[in-house]
Subunit: 233 residues, 2 copies
């Protein structure tokens, strides 16, 4: 009766670490808490491509999991901007949000929450290169690792999903359980060059990524949406 | 001619973040370096289960990629110990090692490299709970985030694969490229409770995991291998 189902949402071309970081954390939590269940949902059960050569497939369809307790949507580059026009996906986010306690995103997944109408008037974050685009959905962009705005929690780019998920476990079960999960995934980060030095952010080197993500072919059938994004790019 | 193919190896039940952390990092590097190619290999192209509800599928079979430049094998819990008896997998590791420049592992993937005969007389690391098992393969266990022993590089548990992969990019292309990839995946970790305090490691809370991984049903058909592991557990 008290079972809480947390649904990770798939769509073609997503950035796979956005998905798998928090999926690993919440799956570890689920093995320790019988009332917490993790599922991976997609429009169909067929394998889809990611932004790597790995193909992935969900455990359930959107239709199977209509009232999850929580939802997480991962981000990506051009495929995520294309997904803004993916009606079954955006409808799933908008519909589940009516009853879910937690709607969460990693990276540019925040834009999908925005298109589903969930960021209007809220603080939110996303991948640093895409942060200004949040304004297109009425959100106030914030440069933080994650932004807990009550029922909607957004994380920064890609790897930030791990931190978001540990924060979620703390919110759901307290710090002791969260720390045990952290030991389980041996999350004791040691970036070879230390943390990021934002004064050296390679805007130039990564600009082709942003240009590709908002390129001519992207959202070609949705000039309205495209214009809204470009106004904030 | 100079193309370098890096193969990520799949087998049923693996810990998916072990795979996806470094896969994301090296895939980002591959988009910036035309001579570097990432593939995901499995015995067949069929989707397999992981230690989460996500199913995954490779881009190529073992037979398709016989002489990769580099190989990474992820770890896991009981399924990884079972995989010690997976002949096609162990043969793939042993055979590719003859020509590969780099054989690498994350977490208990190190045990699979050990069974393939690649750790004898070398320093190596793995998930902290399984570290002593490395002795079963003639390795000297080391408590480091990753251990670069020349052609064989092993990483600690699960999330350590991200650090290993950034180290690999530095080794392959230098620190500037590695830092750009780090910005791309916004790897600026902020564990909610800070880094791990090893004096509080939850040996008790996670012991069922180790017991399950070495449980009665595991490697039931390979008493020799089982005894070798138990001698060091």
């Amino acid at each position: 009766m008290t079972e809480k189902t947390f649904a990770f949402v798939l769509y073609p071309g997503l950035t796979v670490l956005d998905l798998v970081g928090p999926l690993q954390v919440l799956s570890a939590f689920a093995t320790a808490d019988q009332d917490f269940r993790v599922v991976v949902v997609g429009e169909t059960l067929d394998p889809i491509g990611t932004d790597t050569p790995l193909r992935i497939a969900p455990s359930h369809t959107f239709a199977d999991v209509r009232e999850p307790y929580g939802v997480l949507v991962p981000g990506g580059s051009a495929p995520t901007l294309e997904a803004l026009a993916n009606r079954p996906l955006i409808d799933y986010l908008a519909t589940t949000a009516r009853t879910a306690e937690l709607m969460t995103s990693v990276c540019t997944g925040a834009l999908l929450l925005g298109e589903a109408g969930l960021l209007d008037g809220r603080e939110a974050t996303t991948h640093w290169m895409f942060r200004d685009l949040l304004r297109a959905f009425g959100a106030t962009p914030v440069a933080r690792r994650w932004v807990d705005a009550g029922p909607v929690i957004t994380a920064a780019g890609v790897s930030a999903g791990i931190d978001l998920a540990l924060h979620l476990v703390e919110r759901l079960a307290g710090p002791d359980v969260a720390r045990t999960v952290q030991f389980g995934i041996e999350y004791d980060p040691e970036p070879p060059f230390g943390p990021l030095d934002w004064s050296t952010a390679p805007h130039g080197a990564l600009k082709p990524l942003l240009e590709h993500a908002l390129g001519e072919h992207v959202l070609a059938d949705r000039p309205d949406l495209k214009a809204k994004l470009l106004a904030h790019a």
